[in-house]
């Protein structure tokens, strides 16, 4: 596992303490897990994602990620309807390790409470919490 200083947290994303990230793309939120989360988990071997169309509240589990070490729940950083899931992860779960902010994304969500976006963390704040 790497020290926090060697991990990457892009400035254009927003984060939650449960280690998911959010990127807003024309009103739709793309969601995945952070570089820290994938580094802690180690080699990801399976990703379980919801069906598109499902509506979930902020903080609800939307799936799980399994590594050789552990199985962890994935939590919604904001409330909304799942409009797309990353089908590539079912045959290539290693994308989560290789490219957590790119090809390793997990779901795209249409937010139902845009005010929740205010509560998400900026990259610097998330990094600060990891150190604390």
């Amino acid at each position: 596992m790497k020290p926090v200083s060697e991990l990457s947290f892009p400035e254009d994303l927003r984060y939650v303490e449960s280690h998911e990230w959010v990127r807003l793309e024309e009103g739709i939120a793309r969601i995945g897990i952070t570089d820290y989360a994938q580094d802690q988990l180690g080699d990801v071997v399976f990703v379980e994602l919801p069906e598109a169309g499902k509506t979930l509240a902020r903080g609800a589990a939307f799936g799980s990620v399994e590594s050789v070490k552990a199985v962890s729940e994935l939590y919604m950083p904001l409330s909304g309807r799942v409009v797309e899931v990353n089908a590539a992860l079912s045959s290539s779960p290693e994308l989560v390790n290789q490219s957590p902010y790119g090809e390793g994304w997990m779901i795209r969500v249409e937010p139902s409470a845009p005010a929740e976006l205010e509560g998400l963390l900026a990259a610097a704040d998330y990094r600060e919490r990891l150190k604390g």
Binding site: D43, F46, E66, E94
Partner: protein, 490 residues
Amino acid sequence: MNPVQAAAGLVFEEPLLWERGRPGRMGYSLPRRDVEETPVPEALAAEPPEIPELSEVDLVRHYVRLSQWNVAVDTAMYPLGSCTMKYNPKTNERQAALPGFALAHPLLPEALCQGALELIAALECLLAEITGLDAVSLQPGAGAQGELAGMLIFHAFHRRQGRPRSKILVPDTAHGTNPASAALCGYRAVPVASGGQGILEPEAVARLMDEETAGIMITNPNTLGLFEGHVAEIARIVHAKGGLVYGDGANMNAVLGRVDLGRIGVDVLHLNLHKTFATPHGGGGPGAGPVCVTRRLAPFLPVPRVVHREGRFFWSEDFPLSIGKLQAFWGNFGVLVRAYAYILSMGANHLEEVSRLAVLNANYLRVGLRGDYEPAHDRPCMHECVFSDARQRPHGVTTLDIAKRLMDYGFHPPTVYFPLVVPGALMIEPTETESKEMLDLFLAAMAAIAAEAREQPELLREAPRRCLRRRLDEVQAARKPRLTGSPPAP
């Protein structure tokens, strides 16, 4: 003695059974047919599976060779935390092989198996006395099924009270199966964080306990190997709200004959005969997970139950509040015979001694290891001690590497990455059956590994080097598992 217990010896490669077999070879002879030949009914007929065809000697060599690749309590110290891998005395096997037990058919009429029924009744009494609880069912086939039985009893009890409940409290230091057993009964598991000392604090339980909560599941000693010192007060808090207390008895080896679980407020407890009572763990089974309860919960125990009337033992289903039947026939009877033999051959005094020595051995290791490894909690432990790889990580060495390297020294690795509250956990349970000399060899091996981690970390990352199979590709095995064998292509 050299701390490197492992030496290289002659072991054999072994192919899949299909590669050994030849069509037409056979390892058995059927008795002469004494009934008319009848074709298989069409509805039951299907393509036969591809079963390897082998002679007896092929089969025996196959499994004996595979067993030589393995490590067992009969070959090496096996400090697998939370599993209580104590030595299993051979007298247990001798008693279980007595023809009256080993050959008894489960459908024998009661009149022809009074001895087997009496053994079940007597073992129930012994386990009740050992735990301080009032009634016992030996039916559950493993610890997790004992837990499930316990949760079904919680559920049946609250329903009987007319107030079904929806939640259950599970501390973060409880066994990993606890939330799953509760969820199977429809309960939502509410986690309780342990306090700074690694044990539960009554205030934390009081904050969460309410009249929607069925009770609490406590593993005592907990998975950090620490005694839950506030358990009696926690039980009072839970009982005051009408809840029940479940004791996970998986760590019973630490408190055998020393703690009266009934008196500290436990309502339901399961035991693992294959841990505490020296029966084999097998290849994942069979085990036995008897469930013990207080008098007021006895009506809910699984059926059938052995009853004793007018000098005879027989099965009874006449318990209308019972949670029902959990297991085919009467549980894993061979395991029960072994546990009974263990208890009788030890006697009450020596059973108490078991816990004293198990706790002493664990503390001896704890003190011997803390110079090189980071303890999770540097305070006296019960039957197991937990360390982490915090001091090895700066050298790029992880708990997994340490565990693999221990194999080169000839020790089974400890439990790793559990409990989850300790990152990189190494959970070490020596049990009472290891001598001081063996514990010293283990400490010497661990000290040597700590030195290697500092000076030659690549030795650890490449371990094991002495095993027939080197480090397995766990990632590939999980991503692309091959779960069945198949005959070689013609």
